[in-house]
Symmetry: none
Subunit: 194 residues, 4 copies
DNA sequence: CATGAATGAGAGTTCATTCAT
DNA sequence: GATGAATGAACTCTCATTCAT
């Protein structure tokens, strides 16, 4: 695939991403993407064979960017507690975002396709986030900023709460206040008062 | 609709429930249910007009049973901590259930249909569980069994962790050990050691 | 079929008539009639085998009543011109009737079923009307009330104009003024000034 | 849609036209047209979304051709009476055509779809025909070829007779002789003897 | 007589996927 | 590479008609 094709490929993925944000995963047809991209039916098939393939690529793109964002926060010289709070704030913004995120599409994708539970992109993201957070907590404990009995379990706990908030935001709705309370509760568990 | 029809209606719902457990929500067509029930195309339409309608009824059935289960636990004379632990164990069993549960179908349903976030069955269940757990915690605090700063926020926290575990079990997988650790972490936060 | 059955039969026909007036012929299903009559599906089939059968009966009923109406006008002692004008006025009222008549249903019926053109109820009505009008005109000519070269052709002409008005009222619409003008034109052709 | 598609579109319309001539409007399904055209189910939907859409297009095509026919007659240098007689003869041929015309389908279409009475293609054709005939009569009166008291009402009268003959031909049947008599009657009313 | 649940044929419609150009 | 017309499988939904009760 030449230079030009790579650009078109990227264009398709970015356009498809918007479609997935808007309509989720299962409701999106190849035609939807064709229409949004304003290319021909056959043209799309030159690059991707199915919506599943497209979505997986969109997710991979997403994943790269997300990792970057996390790294950015870490790279700045800030205390462990600061980084944690920043991360949680970021998550809050994300899960309350009104005009669409990929949450629904991602869950739908993992529901409807036969994705191995052991080795998948979501799992990698989750595990990676847990690991980073674990280290962060360890560092915070070391520096005396915060208190924690078992950093791994605590890190996982935080991640599960965030997952719970994310899915709840899409099904039963959560108010910003509830999110704030829950995040404060987590920090408080670590001995951090805002 | 006579007595007999009611039985058939129930039969369809129970059969459909199995189909939803197996295939989720979006992948299920009226034909799937017709085939599973071994009735005619038109026959199904006598009772239900769409998979959405069927699924909502399945959910309602489910909801009634779940409430009962909870009440049962409460009705026995046991300490607050006991009841809490029982509830969490129940949830653990549910979310680790191998041969299918309605989790995926339920989330898919709430994703794909236009369900109001403010007033829906999932929300009612969530709020009701929070309220009961809050009272439970209050009772436990009163009796000195457990410690808790803010029973409402804590109750919600527990529910969000459970939601997080539930969705994670379906997407990235969770081991029984992880669930145990997380539940222990929660109980520990309440001052309960198993 | 006993007395009771005859009554039910008549009830069905009268109810069906209303349905046909409202929805035409082709859009009416056995279910529509069942619903309107508030009887059971099987019950209707005890009396009639199809909407075609029902509509034919409705038409027969209608036909009897229409003939009566015509006879009524004739029985009164009035001049030929009077009777003619009365008849035309009646037709005007009928074809301008807002809330439904059987015109559309009747035409639809004759279009969609394989009705012999030579011997059918519509034909009988038409021919009968022509004959009566012919006699009427002859009587008028004799009495010097009106002038006419060929009473049969004239009678048919009047009937065709009426048919034309009837169908036009249902497709392109006709105003009362247009009807008045056309009827006046007919009468004027017979030497009658209103 | 390219050149080729336009040809196919036209092919579909012409084929559908035959189907409508044979079976009327309400009895024609998308499948009937698909079969007649020997194309795929989906293929037809690329061009038209419903039988209603197709029929409207057929009618539009028809309308263009009919207008042409009329113009042709007018363009030749002939007396008003000649043109009138030519037009009536054309109408006679049309309404007696054995192997199907679109009359039934057209009426059925206007019965079953919600067509506005004020502004529809049939109405336009009718009004246009009335207007042309009115002018024709006026010209004939001017040149002394024929006599007429009120050209507009007379023109409408002729059109209504034609409509009456058209509908009657499809329901109760009319013989060529009857048509001839009626047309002669009309001409005679204008002072034209054949 | 009367009921109404049940059947199954058939219409409408959408979409992934292919393929000649 | 790119196009978009074409295909056909699959799904939704409706209704005439039957039949056990």
């Amino acid at each position: 695939m030449g230079e030009k094709s790579l650009q078109k490929r990227k264009y398709i993925l970015e356009t498809a991403r918007k479609v997935f944000m808007e309509k989720g995963y299962k409701n999106v047809t190849m035609k939807d993407i064709v229409d949004a991209c304003e290319i021909s039916r056959g043209g799309l098939y030159l690059y991707f064979g199915s919506t599943a393939e497209i979505f997986m690529e969109v997710l991979r793109m997403e994943s790269l960017e997300t990792d970057d964002v996390f790294s950015d926060n870490i790279s700045k010289d800030a205390t462990a507690a600061d980084i944690l709070m920043l991360f949680l704030k970021e998550q809050k913004k994300e899960l309350l975002r009104k005009n669409g995120n990929l949450t629904v599409a991602t869950y739908e994708f993992f529901f409807s396709e036969e994705i191995p539970k052991k080795e998948n992109i979501l799992r990698r993201q989750f595990d990676s986030a847990v690991k980073i957070m674990e280290k962060l907590i360890d560092a915070g404990v070391q520096s005396g900023e915060l208190y924690c009995g078992n950093s791994r379990v605590t890190a996982r706990n935080i991640m599960f709460v965030l997952e719970g908030l994310k899915i709840s935001a899409q099904t039963i709705g959560v108010t910003p206040e509830t999110v704030d309370e829950e995040l404060a509760y987590i920090l408080q568990g670590l001995g951090i008062e805002e």
